[in-house]
């Protein structure tokens, strides 16, 4: 039963991790790609970590909860990186499917050059 639960958690976690990266690879522009990883981190890794908690806690060596810390870390950091990336992208006027909000772009910036490399 437990093993069942574990297996499910593991596969689900891995699956979401995969999907996150898939989104990163597949989606059309930077801003949409940005969504993929943010999810992968939350649910994917989250599920895997819960699995690990269960796994190690049930091996008779007492509770093992420190994986939760990793999750905590990710929950705090991932959104920040996402935000910064988006901010940077807007600053660099990275190509976007959705019309970017004008005020978000530096007025001084020269609109002709495409951002990045």
């Amino acid at each position: 039963m437990l093993e069942m639960l574990l297996s499910v958690l593991i596969v689900v976690g891995a699956l979401f991790t995969f999907i996150g990266s898939l989104g990163l690879a597949r989606l059309g522009d930077f801003y949409t790609r940005l969504h993929g990883p943010t999810k992968a981190t939350t649910l994917g890794v989250g599920a895997l970590l819960i699995a690990s908690v269960l796994y190690f806690s049930t091996r008779g060596e007492g509770l093992s909860l420190h994986e939760i810390l990793v999750t905590l870390f990710l929950f705090i950091t991932a959104p920040v990186s996402a935000h910064l990336l988006a901010k940077a992208a807007l600053h660099l006027r990275v190509r976007s499917i959705a019309p970017p909000p004008p005020e978000a772009e530096d007025p001084l910036a020269d609109t002709r050059v495409r951002a990045g490399d």
Binding site: L6, S7, A14, F18, G36, P37, E67, A89
Partner: protein
Amino acid sequence: MLSIAVSIAFALVSGALLLSLFRLLRGPDKPDRILALDTLYINTIALLVLLGIHLSSSLYFEAALLIAMMGFVGTVALCKYLLRGDIIE
């Protein structure tokens, strides 16, 4: 059964690794690459957690924890560079 699940998971995570890698190498924009790097870090965490379960050893936890921290710092530094050029000002 667990082992099967783990191996499936390994396959999936490795796939994720490759996909992020593709984005990292493909670009096109610097933010894309940074995002890919960040994702790569997170995939690695997943990989490590799996490895921990696979070898049933908790020695890999710190590595995961550290990756979580370091990935963040790296991303922030790179973004700051894109935004301001001078990252410690």
